[in-house]
């Protein structure tokens, strides 16, 4: 390869090839990510679950917000019942027996492992608390842990 004309042309050729390769790789990746769109969800929102219910007893995850005012402890003392809401009106009632995570409060995000029962109740075997993207100091908020559901409600669910 000589220094002047052909060298420059070779450099341009390489640049074009690299740019084509990068474009191809990016579109392949985006295509794969798009194809995964629904399979790669970590959980179903209530509206997704009621629109397209999984068969009863099949292990799935349900995620959403714990509806404020819906959390109650049943008579046996270890079972809790609450309602999960999403971005739309659909809601799903959930039952869970076990230790609740520290951040599990009304109006906050939750992800439940379990299965949908025939009567439409979701029986959870494990609960995960979902934290939202807000970081607010306790003093500044001037509120108890359970008193600021609205703010986290509007932001935990990502809406486009």
């Amino acid at each position: 390869m000589t220094k002047t004309g052909t060298g420059l042309r070779a450099k341009h050729q390489r640049m074009v090839l690299v740019v084509i390769a990068i474009v191809a790789v990016i579109s392949a990746g985006l295509l794969a990510a798009y194809a995964l769109r629904n399979q790669a969800n970590f959980f179903y929102l209530p509206e997704q679950m009621s629109a397209n219910p999984p068969e009863a007893g099949k292990a799935v995850r349900l995620g959403g917000m714990v509806q404020p005012g819906s959390l109650e402890t049943l008579d046996d003392g270890i079972t809790v019942a609450f309602v999960v809401t999403g971005n739309e009106t659909a809601t799903i009632p959930v039952r869970y027996s076990g230790i609740l995570p520290d951040l599990f409060v009304e109006g906050s995000g939750v992800v439940a492992d379990g299965s949908l029962q025939k009567n439409g109740t979701f029986l959870a075997t494990n609960l995960l608390a979902k934290h939202d993207e807000n970081y607010v100091p306790r003093e500044l908020e001037g509120l108890e842990q359970h008193q600021s559901p609205e703010q986290s409600y509007t932001t935990t669910m990502y809406t486009d």
């Binding site: 951040l103 807000n134 842990q145 990502y158």
Partner: protein, 250 residues
């Protein structure tokens, strides 16, 4: 930029830049982490565990930024055959992998008390773990090619192809329902209160300066290694075939 293709010129710049970056990086990141540990108030819901943010976020930034650097150097190597590009990409790989591992470890420690689980297979966590494996593969490939004199093109192509994971990590919490929270800091907007945000930004800056210093240090070490090898080879040539001694000059 091509001025620095000459290693002597690059080295004279790197010689004074390395201690400057390392020192300012150490001072800023130590200060920001201390600020985060002792001054910042507890979070409304997370309480004291919020402090892990000051290690987790800068590490995640550098893990992803490191691979972006590898991809850019790889493109520079393939297009312009810039001699420093391969050295730069190799120098970034190990610190990038270390920060990715720190990000995963701190996230896991935070996830146990916050979510109730050390690890879940959601989009963000899985794609970050893939990044760690990509780093491991890249380091193995780069070392093998440097040792056995293989083609550095293969390594550069791997660096570019692996970059597809970076936008996937970034968008994973938006595209898919995930347990990891959506981005707190987006262009022009922050869902993080100022008390938390300022030390966080200083920590990101400090960690980045430190990272730059480490990369320059490793680049100098790699160049020195190559010079030693070239010198040894030349000496071996001189000893064996005195006639061929003039060939070794570079």
């Amino acid at each position: 930029m091509h001025g620095y293709a000459n290693p002597t010129r690059f080295l004279s710049l790197a010689r004074w830049l390395t201690p400057v970056l390392l020192l300012s990086g150490i001072v800023l990141s130590a200060g920001a982490v201390a600020w985060g540990l002792f001054v910042v108030p507890p979070d409304r819901l997370m309480g004291e565990t919020v402090r892990i943010l000051y290690i987790h976020v800068p590490s995640a930034w550098l893990g992803m930024g490191g691979w972006t650097g590898i991809a850019l150097s790889s493109a520079a190597l393939l297009i312009w055959k810039h001699p420093l590009a391969a050295i730069g990409a190799r120098a970034v790989a190990i610190p990038g992998m270390v920060f990715t591992a720190i990000c995963l470890a701190t996230g896991s420690i935070w996830g146990r008390p916050t979510w109730g689980s050390w690890w879940v297979w959601d989009g963000r966590l899985t794609s970050m773990l893939v990044l760690l494996f990509l780093y491991a593969g890249y380091i193995a490939l780069a070392q093998a090619s440097a040792r056995d004199g293989g083609s550095s093109k293969i390594v550069a192509i791997f660096g570019i192809v692996g970059a597809i994971n970076i936008p996937i990590i970034n968008r994973s919490v938006v595209w898919w329902n995930s347990l990891h929270q959506p981005p707190s800091i987006t262009v022009g907007k922050s869902a993080i209160a100022g008390e938390f945000l300022i030390p966080l930004l200083i920590a990101v800056l400090g960690f980045s300066l430190l990272f730059g210093g480490i990369v320059l240090m490793r680049m100098r070490a790699l160049i020195a290694e190559m010079q030693v090898e070239a010198r040894l080879r030349r000496r071996a040539l001189e000893d064996d075939v005195p006639v061929a001694a003039s060939m070794g000059t570079s």
